[in-house]
């Protein structure tokens, strides 16, 4: 697990940053994903699937974090991610922030499909495995998500 972390941690943190827009939260999610991998290590059929597992776990963690933020926003309490998000905003241009903000307004599955496809450049079977859905559904979800994202960007234009 430690060796896997050394090789893939930065890539997975980057994936989580794209999903969350927050470095600290991204690191926490990846840490938790590797902890889960450690606990499940004996249940994996082969080591080659460990990366698939930890990538899925990272996506699950991002989903949970976004849900937590929504609950927090409902209570109108400032979140501890605000400062980190401000730091992130300083490093990313306004146009890119607009796209990322629109991305985060999509339903979780649509957002994940787009990030896996257009950031990680995964194939449809790989996305299907990461998301636990069929390849046919990957195609429809990605198409739908891209349309929705385009509309969001148009609305904000």
């Amino acid at each position: 697990v430690t060796a896997l972390y050394r090789v893939h941690a930065v890539g997975l943190i980057r994936l989580a940053v794209v999903m969350l827009g927050d470095r600290q939260a991204a690191e926490d999610v990846v840490q938790e994903a590797f902890t889960g991998l450690f606990r499940r290590w004996a249940h994996l059929t082969d080591a080659g699937k460990a990366l698939s597992y930890v990538r899925s776990a990272t996506l699950n963690g991002c989903r949970s974090e976004l849900r937590r933020r929504i609950r927090s926003e409902r209570r109108s309490h400032p979140t501890d991610t605000d400062a980190a998000s401000a730091e992130f905003a300083a490093l990313v241009s306004e146009d890119h922030r607009e796209v990322l903000a629109a991305l985060r307004r999509l339903p979780a599955r649509q957002r994940e499909a787009l990030v896996l496809r257009f950031y990680l450049e995964l194939s449809e079977p790989e996305i299907a495995q990461a998301m636990g859905i069929s390849t046919g559904t990957v195609k429809s979800t990605t198409s739908r998500a891209l349309t929705a994202l385009g509309r969001l960007l148009q609305e904000n234009a």
């Binding site: 794209v18 470095r23 290590w41 307004r105 390849t135 559904t137 739908r144 609305e155």
Partner: protein, 430 residues
């Protein structure tokens, strides 16, 4: 070049570049795994999916060929084909349907769409309908129960060049009532007294064609969405609105988002599909009850979408509605028929099929495993029309490797393909 894709790629790379190489913090792990646990590769608990055997695909083709012995109706015969209803006599399949068809537009790379009226039994195109001026594309269709009345959604087609790419704006959408003659030809097409809607996700015409339900997922300034269902009375344009504040999206995640809603025959209950967090839900809204909160709708089905590593099996099996599949309520209000996927743990199998659920309890009443074509991994499927009691329905199945679905009538486990050219069809209404 699609500017949305390019902007997304660039933004994602920019976000990722904020994490420099070698900047990951140290990994902190809990205590060592318990003694006796296996190392990876030592044993084989089932992983989720199994590939479909080629032999099964060959068998599918053989059975499909046999199933083509469908009694095709003539273009003007609105009662053919007939599906036998085991509980209440023959279930009549509508004689006509309207297809939204995409027409390629090389100038922009984005298609414009028109409508075709077709005979169900023969697939013959009876009429072609373009968007009424000044609109330039058709974006939605829904049918009443009389086989003669439909609503079409017409939209502009504004070309906008952004960042070296092209965007097409197909909003707002205006609605038109289409009446067919007894022979399936266009009788009249009239503008409805319904305000134009910005980016509607889907529409559903009530069975008696008196009301039109419109879903709009408002996205501006909300996270992640603020879905609204508006129901318009078509005689006078009166509107009732039901809203769900935040954290939901009325969608089945299908690319065309078709048939998110369905009515019962009495026009009281509107079934709709909604994502809430990671849950895909089917809910029933009593449109005659007071109030305006979608949360007052009754939750009937709740499918939780998780990574396959977190599937929870009950008695070694789990039934799930796949993203992109839809669910319709039967007109008698007793059942929900949905595209589903049954996953078994030992052995690890995945079997897409259709499931009939109780609309009252959500319990599984029946799983319909089609005899032809047999679905397998990688397929998607939709329910497009259901008979009054659900004894017959029209559904679509996309076979692995195919670029277009097979659409046909399902009666129990029997699937009979319908003739017709389904290429470039983006919406259907029976």
């Amino acid at each position: 070049m699609n500017s949305t894709e390019d902007r997304l790629r660039a933004a994602a790379q920019a976000a990722a570049s904020t994490v420099p190489p070698g900047s990951a913090p140290p990994l902190h792990l809990p205590a060592q795994p318990r003694r006796g646990q296996r190392r990876p590769g030592q044993a084989r608990p089932g992983w989720r999916l199994a590939a479909a055997p080629l032999a099964a695909a060959a068998a599918v083709l053989a059975v499909l060929a046999a199933s083509l012995a469908l009694a095709h109706g003539s273009p003007g015969n609105r009662h053919a084909p007939v599906a036998k209803d085991h509980t209440s006599g023959p279930a009549r399949i509508p004689g006509f349907y309207v297809a939204i068809v995409a027409r390629s537009n090389p100038a922009t790379g984005f298609p414009r769409q028109y409508a075709e009226v077709r005979a169900t039994g023969s697939g013959k195109v009876l009429a072609t309908i373009g968007p009424p001026a000044p609109y330039r594309t058709l974006e939605a269709v829904s049918a009443a129960a009389d086989d003669r009345t439909f609503v079409l959604g017409a939209a502009p087609y504004k070309v906008r060049h952004v960042g070296g790419g092209t965007d097409i704006i197909q909003s707002p959408v205006r609605f038109f009532l289409l009446r067919l003659s007894p022979t399936g030809h266009v009788d009249r097409l009239t503008k409805l007294p319904v305000p134009a809607q910005e980016w509607p996700s889907d529409i559903a015409l009530s069975p008696d064609s008196s009301r039109l339900a419109v879903v709009v997922n408002h996205t501006r300034h909300r996270h992640p969405a603020d879905p609204v269902i508006d129901v318009f009375t078509l005689s006078n344009g009166a509107m009732r609105t039901w809203g769900w504040a935040g954290e939901a999206w009325i969608t089945n995640n299908d690319a065309s988002n078709r048939q998110l809603m369905s009515w019962t025959a009495d026009g009281r209950t509107l079934a709709f599909e909604q994502w809430v967090g990671d849950d895909e839900q089917v809910r029933l809204l009593d449109t005659t009850a007071p109030g305006s909160d979608l949360r007052s709708s009754r939750l009937v089905l709740d499918f939780r979408h998780q990574a396959f590593t977190d599937w929870k099996f009950t008695h070694g099996k789990v039934i799930d509605a796949l993203s992109g599949y839809n669910a319709l309520i039967t007109p008698d209000g007793t059942k929900i028929i949905a595209g589903t996927d049954t996953v078994t743990k030992h052995p690890a199998t995945e079997d897409p099929h259709f499931t009939v659920f109780s609309a009252r309890t959500g319990a599984v009443l029946r799983e319909l495993h089609q005899s032809a074509p047999k679905p397998s991994t990688g397929q998607s499927q939709d329910v497009m029309w259901v008979s009054p009691t659900g004894s017959a329905f029209i559904g679509s199945v996309l076979q692995p490797g195919a670029d277009r679905p097979v659409i046909g009538v399902l009666r129990g486990n029997d699937f009979t393909a319908l003739p017709g050219n389904w290429a470039r069809v983006t919406g259907l209404a029976w």
